[in-house]
Amino acid sequence: MIQLTGVSKSYGLGKVVQAVSGMNLQIGPAERVAVMGPSGSGKSTLLNLICGLDGPTAGSVKVDGMELSALSDDARTRLRREKIGMIFQTFNLLPTLTALENVAFPLRLQGLAKKDAEPRAASMLVRVGLKDRSSHRPDELSGGERQRVAIARALIFRPLLLLGDEPTGNLDSVSGEEILRLLDGLQHEYASTLLMVTHNSQAAGYCNRIITLHDGRIVKDERFDRAPATGR
């Protein structure tokens, strides 16, 4: 599903910061991978490289067999729209849309009419336990509820790849646990590949592979055999 070969990414002109350095990584279909490491170790950069929001300085990034650097900006955007669901620490919901409209939005981007997209979004909201909150705007929802909406939005088009950037980073432990259970169950159901950047070992415990980064390099790559939706 994901293949990184000799990927490096640096920033700046004078004082160069090496965010990712000569990274090789392969992630297979339906894997659940946690990426951990201290701040500045390159976790978010790795995520940005994989979803095509950023390009590598050197090396190759392939997603679903496609070499991202060979794709145009529009093609990378289309890849995100059709194959990659993203969940952010700060939720990044569209503030002017209701929960239902936020979830339906990716389908509408794919060309579905509102009347077709919104029933699917409504059933997705039921799946994440927000049946009664569908008409609320993000500022009327709690942090946990916002993240549920974000998960529903990420999964609405059954993405091959689900990327999470500290999905529980802004939540209390109870809400965080709920979100992780939900994510775990849905990921298993949809058979999406999950790649989640986290500082939280509780969150990492839901994955069957933990990659640890330091100074832009993989320093540990551990695999576990865990049943879905069970946690540690």
Binding site: F88, N92, L97, F105, Q110
Partner: protein, 854 residues
């Protein structure tokens, strides 16, 4: 496929920012309304002129004229003897002042009533089948037929007396018949009368001349053929034209006014472009994170671009439709203003025509409104589509500093300003008005590209002052501008456009007034002027030379100069002729002659062996001292050398100065439009003025001005001419204020987290308020600086290009230092007022909410 989903985002944004959307749409609506109103009023004026010509011409297919000067009556015999002429009738057309205090002018047509009724429509009242007493009508030169509209306004009946000022003073006319307000009777708002042409010659001192001959061709001879035959038979100074050409001549007379109005309407549209630009720049800043989210969700750049342009398109459509609706009502007012200026400044008569919806004007206004909206949104939409999504998704702290000094902006911006400035300087006036107007737009576009750099540079320049005057908050306020020059650019841009118009218009008016002041000092420097009308000329009412003689006989008077100020056909257009007694003129105004040998001028000019031409005549017709002018007079062709160039602004067509004796000889016209009176040393001009007023009271319609009064009157005429520019200034100031309010509100919203952090680390509410208010002051100072810079280019454009296109002469460049200095506290005060609400909002912000603000 993408658009419907994005419309949802757009519509919610519009709902959330109703005020901004409303102000933006209003901006476009205002521009379109002004453009539509001016175009519609322009068309209504032209319709009105053409209707007037049509009604006055009746069934005539050709006219024989000689400008405003008239021609000997024997010409009628030549015309009637020309094979192919079915009917030829002489006409004298006079606009007179009636002695009714509250009544406007009255158009009197001198015609041969019997023959003329075959040409023109006169519908007499049902109560009368014909003229009440035909014999009396013809026998008494003071008889006239009056329109019922005019008669009813003054309670006049058949047999009543109507007092009118004529060349021989005030005279009572007897109403011998009334006709209904149709055909000729509907011209000039019904202020029309008809009298016998030979009586008109006598009472209006036309000698044995006619103003015009209206004729019909016989069926066997086509109009063009007859026109050729008449041209071959008649002297060179006489023109044979179709009546429609007279409409064209009237249109030409009001060209300057129409151009001025058109330029105003384009400026209003340009202002609309800037409002849209300003609003969309704000929107992109406001929706920074939303754009990042959309991009991360798979919305392509082109669709982000399309989303913003789509919004602009919709605003343009709504604004244009509203503008057209509003403009239609505005057109009625604009039409009245233009009709009144046409009558008072240009002496052009018209028939009231209500503005109509012209499909072409509607479509043009709509298209221009939508185009203006799209042009205004183009750059902000592009900026939105180019946003780096990673950067956009981050919080404010992690945003990179803006690269305001990128060469991608500086190079094209500088190039556009430079190229357009060179074009303004070197481009000839004949390349066409549209092209010339686009130079100003290109300069503005270049300056817009350079704005962030200018904002950053100016902010750095005022940093020490703000630091010193505003303390730490002052420094922080300016830092915000240096850090985010693009955000401040939106406000500064609005201020730049508004102040640019204020400064450049102010500079232009001041420079123009200074120029007119110099001209009046050099040219109109006689002690008193006795004139037939406020415009120093009249197409119909003139003094006889006896007026000059009577004034000259006063013991206080040293000398008088009789002046004829009229228009003659010249090279397919027209030119003013100022026929003056040259000895007297040269004695008092030789300083005004700028080119040529003064010895030659003094020798040849009084002998009628050469002419002087005005500076705008020289520029318009590309002729210099030593060149020749060829004039077609009714009695023959005059080919004379140009002896000198003289500064004169009486006519936008350009003026030719010649000795009065020469004019009288070739034009057979001894009428006088005004008399220059020079007093003996020590005589009091005010006392002599009263004496002349007593001398002419009751007999002549004479306006007597002292030199000081004349200058004041000319100053007020200039102010009247610049009325449109004052309206532009109001629009410009409104734009600037809307811009300031808009961007300051957004600026505070955008920086809520920044303010919250300041509060969290111990900043007082009052410090936040001070920061917001000081930023507003800093923006206003930078706005004045940038506005003054933009004004330099616009002053150059107005004084060279606009002035040459509209008036035919350049106005000297003048920079309005005092106006700029005066604007500084005024703009700062407006900015402070505009920032007051945003400052309160910033003070009341919840720190916890703002820090957690997503």
């Amino acid at each position: 496929m993408m658009i419907p989903a994005l419309w949802q985002i757009s519509s919610r944004q519009w709902r959330a920012h109703r005020l901004r959307v409303l102000m933006t749409t209003l901006g476009i609506a205002l521009g379109v309304a002004v453009f539509f109103a001016v175009r519609t009023a322009n068309t209504a004026l032209l319709d009105s002129l053409s209707l007037t010509v049509e009604r006055l011409a009746g069934k005539s297919t050709l006219e024989v004229t000689s400008g405003e000067t008239g021609f000997p009556e024997e010409v009628i015999d030549t015309v009637r003897a020309t094979p192919g002429v079915e009917l030829a009738e002489p006409v004298i057309e006079v606009i007179v002042h009636s002695a009714f205090a509250d009544e406007g002018n009255l158009l009197i047509l001198g015609v041969d009533t019997t023959g003329d009724q075959q040409l023109r429509q006169y519908e007499f009242d049902r109560s009368q089948t014909e003229i009440a007493d035909p014999l009396t009508y013809l026998a008494q030169p003071n008889s006239l037929l009056l329109s019922r509209a005019f008669a009813e306004r003054h309670g006049l009946r058949i047999g009543d007396r109507l007092p009118i000022f004529t060349a021989h003073g005030r005279k009572d006319f007897i109403v011998q018949g009334l006709f209904q307000p149709v055909g000729v009777g509907a011209v000039f708002g019904g202020n029309v009368a008809v009298m016998d042409v030979y009586s008109a010659q006598v009472v209006f001192d036309r000698g044995r001349s006619f103003d015009r001959i209206d004729l019909m061709n016989s069926r066997s001879v086509p109009v063009d053929e007859l026109q050729r035959r008449l041209c071959a038979r008649l002297p060179a100074g006489l023109e044979t034209v179709r009546p429609q050409m007279r409409g064209q001549a009237l249109e030409n007379a009001v060209t300057a006014m129409r151009l001025g109005m058109l330029i105003t309407s384009f400026i209003a549209l340009l202002v609309g472009v800037y409002i849209i630009f300003n609003s969309f720049t704000i929107a992109v800043n406001q929706r920074w994170k939303e754009i990042g989210i959309l991009r991360s969700l798979g919305v392509e750049r082109r669709n982000v671009y399309a989303m913003f342009l789509g919004e602009a398109l919709l605003m343009g459509v709504i604004g244009s439709i509203s503008g057209i609706a509003g403009g239609f009502y505005l057109a009625a007012a604009a039409s009245k203003v233009m009709g009144s200026i046409a009558a008072s400044v240009y002496g052009v008569i018209s028939t009231a025509v209500a503005p109509r919806l012209h499909p072409v004007t509607v479509l043009t206004s709509f298209a221009l409104g939508v185009a203006a909206s799209l042009i205004g949104a183009w750059f902000p939409a592009r900026a939105a589509s180019c946003l780096d999504p990673i950067l956009a998704l981050h919080n404010i702290e992690s945003r990179q500093p803006e690269s305001s000094l990128g060469w991608k902006r500086i190079a094209p911006g500088s190039a556009l300003v430079l190229v357009a400035s060179l074009l303004v300087h070197f481009s000839p006036s004949r390349v066409g008005m549209t092209l010339q107007l686009s130079y100003a737009a290109v300069i503005l576009l270049g300056l817009t590209l350079l704005l962030p750099m200018l904002v950053q540079g100016s902010a750095r320049l005022i940093h020490p002052v703000m630091d010193w005057a505003g303390g730490a908050e002052g420094g922080l306020a300016v830092d915000a501008m240096v850090r985010s020059p693009r955000r401040s650019s939106a406000t500064v841009g609005a201020l730049m456009v508004g102040l640019m118009f204020v400064f450049s218009t102010g500079a232009y008016i001041q420079s123009y007034k200074h120029m007119i002041g110099r001209w009046t000092h050099r040219m109109l420097n006689s002690d008193l002027v006795v004139a037939t009308s406020t415009l120093l000329r009249s197409t119909s009412y003139h003094f006889s030379e006896d007026m000059g003689n009577r004034i000259s006989a006063l013991p206080e008077v040293k000398s008088v100069e009789n002046v004829r100020f009229t228009f003659i056909p010249f090279q397919g257009d027209s030119a003013a002729v100022i026929a003056i007694e040259m000895d007297g003129f040269l004695a008092r105004a030789s300083d005004a002659i700028e080119g040529g040998s003064s010895r030659h001028v003094r020798e040849l000019l009084p002998r009628g062996e050469g002419v002087l031409v005005s500076n705008n005549f020289s520029a318009r017709w590309r002729c210099r001292v030593g060149g020749r002018v060829r004039l077609n007079a009714p009695t023959g062709v005059l080919d004379l050398p140009i002896l000198g160039i003289v500064e004169d602004y009486r006519s936008d067509k350009g003026s030719i100065f010649m000795d009065r004796a020469l004019y009288k000889k070739f034009w057979k016209d001894d009428a006088v439009d005004f008399v220059d009176v020079n007093l003996k040393p020590g005589e009091d001009a005010t006392l002599v003025k009263r004496k002349i007023e007593r001398l002419t009271s009751g007999s002549e319609h004479a306006l007597v001005y002292t030199n000081a009064e004349l200058r004041i009157w000319i100053g007020s005429l200039v102010d009247q001419f610049f009325l449109l520019n004052y309206m532009q200034l109001v629009v410009a100031v409104v734009v600037a204020v809307v811009g300031i309010v808009n961007t300051l509100i957004v600026s505070v919203m955008e920086r809520s987290r920044e303010f919250a952090i300041v509060r969290a680390v111990g900043g007082y509410c009052s410090q936040i308020r001070k920061m917001v208010l000081l930023e507003a002051v800093a923006i206003s100072i930078v706005g004045v600086m940038v506005g003054a810079l933009a004004a330099v280019f616009n002053i150059q454009f107005m004084s060279r290009t606009v002035s040459t296109v509209v008036a035919g002469y350049e106005v000297p460049f003048y920079f309005p230092w005092l106006l700029v200095l005066a604007a500084l506290p005024a703009v700062a005060a407006v900015s402070l007022l505009a920032a007051w609400l945003p400052a309160l909002r910033a003070m009341r912000m919840s720190v916890i909410e703002a820090i957690g603000y997503e």
